[in-house]
Structures are given as structure tokens and as C-alpha cells.
């Protein structure tokens, strides 16, 4: 194995790993820490690197595991993300929309994509308002496109809890986007 050059390594892969981590953990500081941890783990275990996959893929595999570990920490606080049934901000006592919370027409073509940077910035700001566990399931489901069964297994949560979390995340994000992106 050739002598490792730490500077070359970090210059070559640092930004790539960082950009992968940011939208998944939705926090630049946490993303930076995970990238540093990834390099450290790879550096210490480099003797075990068999060269069966590329160095780049190897680093990404380590980073993905670090991100999952980060999500798992949120899943230990599962109850935070589950609704408190005594006070549901979205629906009235009969479980129907209220005048304030009911969806408003956004005046866009819902079948089209959004290219505007502003939309993504607001979506990320809205994601920050989610509980950590809601944010974790949201990222795994919508950014990584994982099946619900896989997410439940990774986070060790039940299917019914999973769907409650996705439902709440959706209700919150929709309301936040409407308020800050559409009606601003």
C-alpha cells in the first residue's frame, strides 16, 4: 500500500463527502463532524482496506454508516416526534381542517418540478423545525428513497410509528412551505 497522503485525500474527497452529508443531516456543523469522523475511521483502518471497491466508494460507505448512526440517535428519542393527541394544531375536535390550517391553493402546476433555489432553502429551513426523528425518517424516505420496512429496521421503530412520523412531517412541512414560500 502506498504511503497515504492526508492532504491529498482530504482535498480530493472532502467536499464530495460534505455535500453528500449536508442535505441528509440538514446541518453544516454536523455534516462537517461526520466527514471528519469518516476520514478518521478510514485513516485508522486503512490496513483493512482491501481495494475491492474504490477508495471513494469505501469512504462513502463509512460516511453512510455514520449518517445512519446519527439518525439512530434521534430514534432513541422517538416519543418526541409522535403527536400529543390532546392538542393537534392541524385539525379541530371533529378531526377536520380548521379555517387557518386548511391547505390554500398555491397557484402552481403541482406536477412540475421546482428549479428555484429559494424553494430548497425554505424547504431546508422548514426541515429544521421538525423533530429530529421526523427529520431522520423524512431524509431516509424522500432523499434516499428507502422503503418503509428498511427504515423501520434501521431505526428500530414500528411500522405504525413510522407512518405517524411521516404523516406529521408532511403536515408540518406543507404548512411551513405554504406560509414561507407561497404566501410570503
Amino acid at each position: 500500500m502506498a504511503q497515504l497522503d492526508a492532504t491529498k485525500w482530504v482535498n480530493e474527497y472532502g467536499d464530495m463527502l460534505y455535500r453528500y452529508a449536508i442535505p441528509r443531516v440538514n446541518d453544516k456543523e454536523i455534516a462537517k463532524d461526520l466527514v471528519q469522523d469518516t476520514f478518521l475511521a478510514a485513516w485508522r483502518n486503512h490496513d483493512n482496506f482491501k481495494g475491492e471497491i474504490s477508495e471513494k466508494n469505501w469512504l462513502f460507505t463509512i460516511l453512510k454508516n455514520k449518517i445512519i448512526d446519527h439518525y439512530r440517535k434521534a430514534s432513541t428519542r422517538l416519543t418526541e416526534g409522535l403527536p400529543d393527541n390532546t392538542n393537534d394544531p392541524f385539525f379541530d375536535e371533529a378531526e377536520h381542517w380548521t379555517e387557518q390550517t386548511g391547505p390554500k391553493e398555491w397557484g402552481i402546476d403541482y406536477t412540475q418540478g421546482v428549479e428555484k433555489r429559494e424553494f430548497y432553502e425554505i424547504l431546508n429551513r422548514c426541515r429544521k423545525k421538525l423533530k429530529d426523528i421526523q427529520s431522520a425518517v423524512f431524509a431516509m424516505k424522500y432523499l434516499d428513497g428507502l422503503e418503509s420496512e428498511e427504515i423501520c429496521k434501521e431505526l428500530n421503530i414500528s411500522a405504525s410509528n413510522f407512518w405517524v412520523l411521516v404523516h406529521r412531517a408532511k403536515l408540518n412541512l406543507r404548512a411551513c412551505l405554504e406560509k414561507n414560500w407561497v404566501l410570503k
Partner: protein, 82 residues
Amino acid sequence: MKRMSLQITCKKATEYIVLREEGKLSPKKRLQLWLHFGICGLCKLFSKQSKFISRNAAHLHEHVDASLTDAEKLTIVESLQR
């Protein structure tokens, strides 16, 4: 025989909408949701907006152009050489 209740609340309907996006809705629930859409424009709108969010969230990672600063890279390099 007990009659099957087909009426659902908006809260239930939004739950079903999220489930339906992953194709996880039973035929009975699909029927209940369809009947609910017939009387509730707000939930129909929620359904469109929910799908819109799901689809566009999948592109979030394409809109990241952040980089580590030279100082941040140096910190990582130093931590490796320690």
C-alpha cells in the same frame, strides 16, 4: 350485519394520502379516500401538495454547493496526522 363505515375524517384522509404515495393503501381505504375527496376539496389539495413535496424533496441534494474551507480541511488533515 354491521354496516361498513365509509366516512373518514380529514386527519384520517391525510394519513391515507401519505400511505397511498408508497402504494400501501388497502382497497377499502382507497374507496374511503376516494369518497372523501368527493366532498373535501381541501384534502384533494393536500394530496397534490404532498406529492409535490415528495417529488421535489428527492432533488434536495442537487442543490447543495457548499464546500469545506481551507481551514476546515486543514483541521481534518491535522486530526489525521495526530
